[in-house]
Symmetry: C2
Subunit: 821 residues, 2 copies
């Protein structure tokens, strides 16, 4: 094999380099040309040195277990057996970082850094180590040779840190595992933080994803006065794992049109493999200055002169060779500047001495002896380069989950609906909640936002629009409904964008709610997964603070999408949620308005969870006065003695259980029907907090077996009407004593275009079927109550027939109220 | 209330309209101006009449239960109690349809129509009814008054058809429930079908979604010679449910730049509420001519002159008022041209006589008496307008699942790996499969494609690249790896685009495979849901034919993402899949190379399913010779007697079960460890087809209880090592006799950056833990084998320690082979 490291090694032997001024510089292993630009010769020299140091530290993380400063010749035992992390994108990430640092220092910015490209973790780690924040946060990783060795070793090593940005990465609030969310997270952080600048590196691979492609349009929702600035930087290094990237293979003029079409003002910097880094530094410094000047001008216009019209925010397209400064040719194949440098350019460093030799040569090409002193500490001028304290992007409390804005919660009890007689009056639960959320938004102007994919009004939360309206800085027309740059409701028809903005907003210490149709929340399954995994991992990072919970409000739920048919019916998000670590997920199914208010107050107070609340938006009967609602929601599960027919002191004959708005209604109506059965002792159990059904060993909310048995008995039939897929209840309860007696009715993909009641009938969750179920399950009852059983069946058939004739539910069903109030 | 219907009703009373030539026309209720353009006066008159007829039929579907031709004054009982379907987008959809028809007729196109906007179902239904194909496919919906009444009534009515495009919609292969997939489905249909033209209406709402935003770039993968043409038409009506659309609120010049930046050649047609339809018709006809001319020129250049360079395909931005021709002002508020016309402009037609009167006026404004004869049949010139037979978009077999190309499957046995001794040799299963898939691609050039988000090579399927390489028509550079317009591998870093292209390709009768990292397939959970729901609903539509199954090949699976950490570890797609109707979903977990080959042959032969196959890409031991592999996969579950220690004729002491590549390896290694226990009778059960675990009442593949008990016993402990989240096995098996004895180990979100074996240890799926589990579960064994039990535990600790020191697994583990071969 042949390996030529450092394409720009040039012809100046390292030993000949002196400290004198000129094109050749002591801190670099390659010849640094003179180049025109805003950087003084000295600035250029130090910035390039810092970049080289970051690159050296990146290569070290990928490859080395020991001998970090290459004080000895590189031996087999110094090299990791598994080479992880991606070199290809890393030098570009480091380049942006050092140039962002110049901006921060010169302009006194409060800035954070979002890294989109995958597995480029060595870069931000290296920068944080150079800035000293790594050592501050992880005291064992000292800023010296020993710490460097530990720092290298832990990277993508068992028990160590991941190869992409993660909760362990100083300065990151963006997990780099799944691609596509850098820009939306950056914008989420910028919302309501006027002093913040977000340098957001977008990978040209991730730019192909849908969520990223949609995210460019967020600029139409950014208020230049009250929001911070995002500076997107496309890292156009041309390749993914094995393929070129689309954006790298269209003419630059076309890419410029695309960016202008997205509403940006693009700036291009290009470095080919033949470009001297000095030119790239000067080029990037030039456009960084231009962009930050333009941002300042936009903000001044908005803030000083009140011009909130949509500006063309600047952005940068930075074209650099993939794997720049790494081995150029390996085993006769071009590596630098191609997809072959995507992961590790030298793969056989444990088995091929020449590869290992090339690695050593590559490491030495950065001339570590001039970047670090004998103890392994960065030389003073490198230490002096970054901004200080919290201005370091790796130490910014905003990025490190160390800022948590207070949330002032108005009393939800003020919005309680009166329940004079149980199950007789009706309210639209989400509409009432919307009134309280309006008060929350008003009391927390600047730290609370509602997000929705054009469904805020549809889900009846439009009272929130009283607070500033809908966020909007694009064109407005007469007749628009409350569009305003001051809006506290962020609406865009992209579930991905809503979810991502909220994640970015929460992870930087603010609060919010995402409302969505239940079926379509599956669109963000994977984003939910990644956020939950962030919370799981973050809990083990001692310097990370609390994150406000991610609160879903799912309405237009499966049982109220009868008219839209099967495509709009899917309660399976609950199943996805339940797969994550019990410590971070909660699911609530409040059956009426007061329970929804109580549950939501709890959710907004909570930290570090994902709370999923499914609630109705159609008029629904009110069951619980507020004081009872609070008690019931606090317990999460309980017997509704007013609904049952138990005899105190004796066990019931059957348990009728329910969870969810419509199942609760149907179970109550079934309980009503069953009052016709003389002497039948029905226990009525309602579940609000689904996690209560799990064993206490599985979830912190789980009931003990004793508690569970006390509710569900150990041997009586249980008929359970459930909001979601029925198997979920079995999955939660399969270890319980009485599980074999549990008969669960839920959604089973029996959906079509129909009426609400016909839809519950199609899935056997309706009152008649539940009542018949009870008759069939209680020993001896079916025979004794054959007449009733048949009448229930007949009425059910009539109900179906009625919908086919009239297109709506029969009044007996639709107008039913609880008659025993 | 006040309601002014039909903004362009003008000042000509309907009764004054005559059949004479001139600006006022007999077939329209409004004054049709003269306007310059390619349409003759007669063409214009008939096309406008057809549009009006389609609009009338659309309003009828939304509102009427009876009295379809408004022969009587509209009474309460004629109006539906629930008003569903969205009027706002419908007139625009109908306008494009009639203009597409002109193109089809004039140019003899083979064309299909994709409708992106949501709930615009009345439009395509109306067009299909006018074209006669509705009656051909649904004989009860005759093309006369009675049929019209039934046609109106069934729309979004219990037991009827959905309000959006669905399997019941003639001419649609695109479900309109969840937004964002119109363009990707259109391109999927166009792949490999050079004669096809796809008119694809993109809603300006759905244009905000991520998948749609990413789909524009598919033009870089379209070969103008061997693929068909997609003509995207953005229906820019300006509003979503409650918000304006982003694309409607940027300057037209910016939108043009966006489209040019995406690589298109945009054409604009604008109709304001004040625009006379004649101008809109002429305008649309003009750009339709231009676009189809350009498409023809592109295709000629490619096909006649061999120029396969990327063209700028034409596209259209059609700006029309939302709810055009509907009520202008309702209850004093502007409706036409605003978000208020999004759903139904007159909502109170059952309770407000004025609303009902306005509806009648609106219906009459289309002058149905001049569009339909007394019997309700369209007048001859309307019947004569559409193209004939299969050229009608509503009757095109390509769209109606009536074309199914043959798939020629080469013998997979030719790729079998030899298994001289069980569990000793190793192969990368997906690499071997890739060899067979290459043969499949070669044998079916033009009807088989492989899709992947830049993971084809990573998942080791790169042999498929031998057949034409990777699809690519953008710029190429020296050193690129086999990019070609002829590629049979479609790679773009968007799981949404991969999934959507494959869906469009399959639903138009071709075959394919989607390969993806297991964790990231969650990105398309919702698209999978919608496709499965299409298959569920399609099965009940008698005129729909079979669809090739959607075949996933998930590799880089949860147990081999140890190095990438928690973000890359998620086996939960299986849980999502299992929620869909058993008739359409299948999950396979082949444990080695030969079983993967056998399973995949079965999948590619199947129809109407979604097949999920999870397989390894790393070297894995070979267990089954091909003949055994075929038998085992055909059974889907079975006892591996060579791995167990049963005594014939007596029950085992314990069942060691497994499903999945790594769990099978660990279970086998555990079985090996357990041979140290004198006299212990271990039964070894391997599961390939997960559906076999369900009761036969729940899934067609389900084992009978008798069969299940025969495998798993009725009372012996079962230790089950599972690929996914352990609860899935409980959910499938909770009704089985011996379920309470089943102890399942699977992934439980215990993930970090580590080694393969450490990762299975973290989740208790490792050989030592499984063996200890067995010792603990078999009565008396733990005490008798205390020494062994402790040794196993100690070795396990050593294995963990080893990874922390060496960064890889200890040789005893990593190099283990089955020693009893």
């Amino acid at each position: 094999m042949t390996a030529t490291p450092a394409s720009m090694a040039g012809d100046t032997a390292a030993d000949d380099v002196t400290t004198s001024e000129g094109p050749t510089h002591p801190l670099t292993g390659y010849t640094l040309d003179e180049a025109e630009g805003p950087l003084s010769s000295e600035e250029l020299r130090v910035m390039d040195a810092w970049w080289r140091a970051a690159n050296f530290l990146s290569v070290g993380q990928i490859y080395l277990m020991d001998n970090p400063l290459v004080h000895e010749p590189l031996a087999l035992e110094h090299v990791k057996p598994r080479l992880l992390g991606h070199w290809g994108t890393t030098p570009g990430l480091n380049l942006v970082y050092v140039h962002a640092n110049r901006m921060i220092t010169e302009r006194e910015l409060d800035a954070v850094y979002v890294m989109g490209p995958g597995h480029g973790g060595p870069g931000p780690n290296a920068c944080a180590w150079l800035e000293g924040s790594y050592t501050e946060l992880f005291p064992a990783i000292t800023q010296d040779e020993r710490g460097m060795a530990a720092f290298f070793r832990q990277f993508s090593f068992p028990g160590g840190v991941p190869s992409h940005c993660a909760p362990q990465t100083p300065g990151s609030f963006h997990e780099g595992g799944e691609l596509g969310y850098s820009l939306v997270h950056a914008y989420g952080a910028a919302l309501d933080d006027p002093g913040l600048t977000v340098f957001c590196v977008v990978g040209d691979g991730e730019a192909e994803t849908g969520p990223l492609a949609a995210s460019w349009h967020i600029n139409k929702l950014i208020n230049p006065a009250r929001d911070g600035a995002v500076l997107p930087i496309i890292a156009l290094n041309g390749y993914k794992i094995a393929n070129p990237t689309l954006l790298a293979r269209i003419p630059e003029a076309e890419l410029a049109e695309l960016m202008r079409g997205y509403g940006y003002d693009p700036h291009f910097v290009t470095a080919e493999t033949s470009t001297n880094p000095a030119q790239a530094h000067q080029g990037l410094a030039t456009v960084m200055d231009e962009c930050l000047d333009k941002i300042a001008a936009i903000q001044e216009r908005a803030r000083e002169h009140g011009d909130l019209s949509r500006p063309a925010w600047p952005m940068i397209v930075l074209r650099t060779p993939k794997g720049w400064t790494g081995p150029t040719v390996v085993d006769g194949q071009q590596v630098e500047g191609t997809y072959r440098s995507h992961q590790v350019p030298l793969a056989a460093t444990r088995t091929d001495d020449e590869h290992r030799g090339a690695l050593e040569q590559w490491l030495r090409s950065y001339r570590p002896q001039e970047l670090f002193d004998d103890a392994g500490r960065p030389v003073p001028e490198l230490l002096a380069l970054p901004p200080e304290g919290a201005r370091r992007m790796s130490a910014n409390p905003v990025a490190n989950t160390q800022r948590l804005l207070h949330l002032d919660l108005p009393d939800f009890r003020q919005h309680a609906v009166e329940v004079a007689a149980r199950g007789t009056s009706s309210h639209e639960a989400t509409r009432v909640l919307g009134g309280w959320l309006r008060d929350v938004a008003r009391a927390n102007d600047g730290s609370f936002l509602l997000f929705g994919p054009d469904e805020v009004a549809s889900n009846r939360l439009h009272d929130v629009l009283d607070v500033g309206g809908r966020s909007w800085v694009a064109q407005t027309l007469e007749g628009d409904d409350r569009l305003s740059p001051q809006g506290r409701s962020i609406e865009i028809l992209s579930e991905h964008v809503c979810q991502g903005l909220l994640e970015g907003y929460l992870l930087t210490g603010r609060h919010g709610v995402f409302t969505c149709y239940e079926a379509f929340i599956h669109i963000v399954d994977s984003m939910f997964n990644q956020h939950a995994k962030w919370l799981e991992a973050s809990a083990a990072v001692p310097w990370r603070g609390s994150v406000p919970s991610l609160n879903y409000l799912l309405s237009s739920h499966v049982w109220r999408q009868d008219h839209n048919g099967s495509t709009h019916q899917d309660p399976g998000f609950l199943d996805v949620v339940m797969n994550k670590k019990p410590g971070v997920v909660r699911v609530y199914l409040p059956p009426d308005t007061n329970t929804l208010l109580s549950v939501y107050d709890h959710c907004l107070r909570s930290r570090n969870y994902v709370n999923v609340v499914v609630a109705g938006k159609q008029p629904q009967l009110d069951y619980l006065p507020m004081d009872e609602a609070i008690r019931h929601c606090t317990r999460g599960i309980g017997i509704w003695d007013w609904a049952g027919t138990e005899t105190p002191g004796s066990e019931p004959d059957v348990v009728l259980a329910c969870a969810g708005e419509i199942p609760t209604l149907e179970a109550l109506a079934a309980a009503d029907l069953l009052r016709q059965v003389q002497g039948l002792r029905v226990r009525f159990v309602n579940v609000v907090d689904l996690m209560r059904l799990q064993p206490e060993s599985e979830h912190p909310h789980g009931l003990s077996d004793r508690e569970f048995d006390a509710l569900f008995t150990t041997d009586k039939p249980v008929v359970f009407a459930f909001h979601g897929y029925p198997w979920l209840i079995h999955r939660l309860a399969y270890r319980r004593t009485n599980h074999h007696n549990m008969h669960v009715r839920g959604y089973k993909e029996n959906g079509t275009t129909t009426t609400p009641f016909d839809m519950v009938m199609l899935n056997d969750v309706d009152r008649y079927h539940l009542a018949i179920d009870v008759l069939d399950r209680v020993p001896g009852l079916a025979a004794r109550e054959a007449v009733l059983r048949q009448r229930l069946g007949d009425t059910r058939l009539c109900a179906r027939q009625w919908t086919r004739e009239h297109g709506e539910d029969m009044p007996e069903v639709a107008d039913w109220v609880w008659p025993h109030g």
